[in-house]
């Protein structure tokens, strides 16, 4: 057989024992993430803070960040931020929201053009007024909350309620850690990041559901097994799938992170982080969580295991 076996055929890892380490570990990380969020804050982009963003490309040679900073400061537009990227030919310049409402933002670009047009090409210009940014914050938050709620409802209908709660706890765990990731790396947080977060949630749920699906199936099949053995068995059975899918998604994202354009890179980094966290949480948080939620704790109490529904016929 010449096929590569990335994962041994039958594994017997004690994932349930792992929870004794994983739960405190995750709790610690979550607290750290929340603390960092409040201590360092996130690097909010203009989508949420409002303001002006321009991407400049040197007409000749390399960009001179110091020069850009100096010239922009001379315009007296308040807080500015300059960042180089794309191998030194490009730079982004962010100007904070000007006081005085939507109308006040309009002058900024004109003044920047006056100062920079001669030496730099304006590759991108974005101006977000205070009201739109406020609404984007709202719709972004609402999006994440609504997505979690609708998934909760869906899983509640498809599984028992313990599964729904377990999945949502694992998802919140991923959400908190991802926010911590944004706080640590200071990667710009904008609407694209909300998309990244929702995709992470989607992926993590996807992973969790696959494991849960198997737990549910095992519950019906082995009515005499303890819940600990049962969950361990189910997680081990799905382990190779969990890892293989994780790797294929990882490969695709690595390509984005390396070869994608600047906007996509931040997105890909966040997704890569979320992929790892989401995979971890499905195995170490979502699955063991079921015990604490009181999904069958004794071998005899199999009433929970969806009576009336027999395991599907094999043929």
């Amino acid at each position: 057989m010449w096929l590569v076996r990335y994962i041994p055929e039958e594994t017997g890892f004690g994932f349930m024992r792992g929870r004794l380490f994983a739960f405190p570990f995750s709790a610690l990380l979550s607290i750290l993430a929340v603390a960092l969020f409040f201590a360092w804050g996130m690097n909010f982009g203009i989508d949420f803070k409002g303001g002006t963003l321009v991407e400049l490309q040197a007409r000749q040679g390399q960009v001179n960040v110091a020069d850009i900073r100096e010239r922009a400061t001379a315009l007296g537009l308040g807080g500015i931020e300059v960042q180089e990227f794309g191998g030194g030919r490009d730079a982004s310049l962010r100007v904070e929201l000007q006081p005085g409402g939507d109308q006040a933002q309009q002058g900024v670009v004109g003044r920047l053009r006056e100062s920079f047009e001669r030496d730099y090409e304006f590759r991108r210009v974005e101006v977000v007024g205070p009201r739109v940014s406020g609404e984007l914050v709202q719709s972004g938050t609402l999006g994440v909350v609504l997505a979690i709620l609708s998934v909760l409802v869906y899983l509640w209908f498809r599984f028992e309620w313990q599964f729904a709660v377990g999945a949502v706890v694992a998802t919140l765990h991923d959400l908190v850690l991802t926010i911590g990731f944004f706080a640590i790396t200071q990667i710009e947080f904008d609407m694209t990041s909300i998309a990244a977060i929702l995709t992470i949630l989607g992926y993590s749920l996807n992973d969790t559901v696959v494991v849960y699906d198997r737990i549910r199936e095992t519950l019906r099949k082995y009515k005499r097994m303890t819940i600990y053995e049962l969950i361990d068995l189910a997680v081990n059975q799905t382990l190779s799938r969990t890892i293989l899918t994780g790797v294929t998604t990882f490969l695709a994202l690595i390509a984005l992170a390396i070869f994608g354009s600047e906007v996509i890179k931040g997105f890909a980094y966040a997704m890569l982080f979320g992929l790892v966290v989401g995979t971890y949480s499905s195995v170490f948080i979502a699955a063991p969580m079921l015990i604490y939620l009181g999904l069958r704790t004794t071998p005899s109490a199999d009433a929970v295991a969806a009576p009336g529904k027999t395991p599907q016929a094999a043929e």
């Binding site: 309009q106 304006f122 998934v151 989607g202 293989l244 906007v263």
Partner: protein
């Protein structure tokens, strides 16, 4: 699970083939597509995916109707109407007409006067109708009176909302005419919410001109300059006087709505850029009459509450045409001519969001996206073939079909492909093989417990497919939420991600299964090499 009736096989293959045909125009250049469109009958799909502004370059400007400005002009209008009715009914007023929040108030002490006045004032209040509900019973104006003679006319919140909505609709028409005059290709102009207008213009390098012509109300009025500041006058800044305020009679002789044409030009004597215009019949008559009566007095040409020039009337102008000079640059004259032709906006519009991407950056983004997609695809394919051998090849074919179907759906739905949309496709590449992994792992497992090849395949598919549905639906829910709440680029991501999930489920159910079944029928293996 592995038996397919012939009609089913045909249906599956036809669906994939259709996908290929619909997606095919994306490989052609715009010119080739145009050629194809003219050569082929109209039912042949020649539509390619629309690229978002972030990929093809262009400007996205979100405008908002300035509600306060609109209310202010509404209230001014109301005050003039009330004044007219007072004159007509000869009711005597105590004090003046005061402008209060969203309306006016006046005091008429005499009960008999009030009796004559009130019914006429009530006529100003119009019932509101909604396009959905028809007559709603709500009126746009509340008219109240107290026994001591205080009369209040206030616009209702519904009245204001209705006015804002209609203003946005009118503004869209005006904006369309203005943007069309810029000569750009395929601008997209649509209303967003009650009071916002989204203007998207592809391929515009410098949006300053666009913003210049969008930001101006362009309300043109011909009035008379007043001799002194008393009486019915407004104090308006004057360009001739270097921004100082001058008294202008409130009465409008002719407004911009009576213009039929307007062109930029040059003054024959001074060679200064000017704008020439023509009045319609009504405008020509009124202008002729006013200039006849006021020879020797200065006229005030007022644009957006600024006196842009105040020429002295030398002779009566009865020909119905004229020219405006106002120390314009050539571009300003060009813009003003466009604005006057397109008509005035019903209210001031404020730019609340602007995003412009240069064409160079767009092309770079496409290139980077394409490279990332291809490399991601190759990595995933290599990994899958190493893991599953021949079954990996099947997964690759399914993945290709997936991508083709995503492009076919994007083309057919007229959806827009954005930069985050490309990320969605790359992500789909990674996640689509999940369905194959689920199926194959399940088949391996079933084989391990001692099932025959046929039975392992069968059970593997049957069990994996329910998992695939459950797992993918949760992601689809996240995608749907993103679609409804996201704007612009993020929406583009939600579209490709969601379409990717749908095509993934489809190919897992049909194509992958069909390929495995066909292989099984041909090879008849005793053991599965998976």
């Amino acid at each position: 699970m592995l038996r397919f009736s012939t009609p089913k096989v045909i249906a599956i293959l036809a669906a994939i083939l259709l996908g290929v045909v619909v997606a095919l125009p994306n490989l052609l250049s715009a010119d080739q597509r145009a050629l194809l469109r003219s050569a082929l009958p109209s039912w042949v799909p020649t539509q390619a995916v629309t690229l978002g502004l972030d990929l093809q370059g262009g400007s996205h400007v979100l405008l908002e109707v300035d509600v306060n400005d609109l209310i202010r002009s509404q209230v001014t209008q109301l005050r003039d109407d009330v004044r007219r009715i007072l004159r007509e009914t000869r009711a005597s007023l105590q004090g003046g007409i005061q402008i209060v929040n969203r309306g006016v108030q006046l005091r008429v002490a005499d009960a008999e006067d009030r009796g004559r006045l009130l019914p006429r004032l009530r006529e100003l209040s119009q019932p509101l109708s909604s396009p959905v509900l028809g007559q709603t019973g709500v009126r746009n104006l509340d008219v109240t009176d107290t026994p001591d003679g205080l009369i209040q006319l206030t616009f209702t919140p519904e009245g204001v909302t209705d006015r804002v909505r209609r203003a946005a609709e009118q503004a869209i028409e005006v904006i369309r005419r203005r943007v069309d005059a810029l000569g750009t290709t395929e601008p997209n102009i649509q209303r967003q919410g009650a009071d916002r207008i989204l203007v998207q213009v592809p391929g515009l390098q410098d949006p300053q001109r666009l913003k210049d012509i969008l930001g101006q109300t362009a309300k043109l009025e011909f009035r008379m300059l007043a001799d002194n500041a008393s009486g019915d006058v407004d104090q308006l800044p004057s360009r001739d006087a270097g921004g100082q305020r001058v008294p202008v009679e409130r009465r409008v002789i002719v407004g911009g709505e009576d213009l039929t044409d307007s062109q930029p030009g040059f003054d024959q004597r001074t060679n200064e850029p000017i704008v020439t215009f023509r009045f319609n019949l009504r405008g020509a008559q009124r202008f002729g009459q006013a200039t006849t009566e006021n020879v020797g007095r200065p006229l005030a040409i007022v644009l957006d509450q600024e006196v842009i020039s105040a020429p002295r009337i030398q002779t009566p102008i009865t020909g119905g045409s004229g020219q405006i000079s106002g120390r314009f640059t050539v571009e300003q004259a060009n813009n003003l001519a466009i604005l006057l032709r397109a008509g005035a906006l019903p209210a001031k519009l404020t730019i609340v969001e602007e995003r412009t991407v240069g064409p160079g950056l767009g092309a770079d983004s496409i290139r980077a996206g394409a490279v990332a997609s291809i490399i991601g695809f190759l990595l995933v394919v290599a990994f899958m073939i190493a893991a599953y051998g021949f079954f990996g090849v099947i997964a690759t074919v399914a993945l290709l079909a997936n991508i083709v179907l995503i492009f076919a759906l994007l083309s057919a739905l007229g959806a827009t492909l954005t930069l985050p949309g490309i990320a969605g496709i790359v992500l789909t590449v990674g996640m689509a093989v999940d369905s194959n992994v689920l199926i194959y792992e399940r088949i391996r497992e079933e084989g391990r417990v001692g099932r025959s090849a046929a039975s392992a395949l069968d059970a593997g598919f049957a069990r994996a497919l329910t998992t695939i549905i459950d797992a993918n639906l949760t992601t689809l829910i996240a995608g749907a939420v993103l679609f409804f709440l996201g704007t612009g680029p993020v929406k583009g991501f939600a579209v490709t991600l969601s379409l990717g999930i749908i095509t993934t489920i489809f190919t897992a159910y049909t194509l992958t299964r069909l390929m495995v079944a066909t292989w099984f029928k041909v090879a008849r293996p005793k053991r599965l090499a998976i």
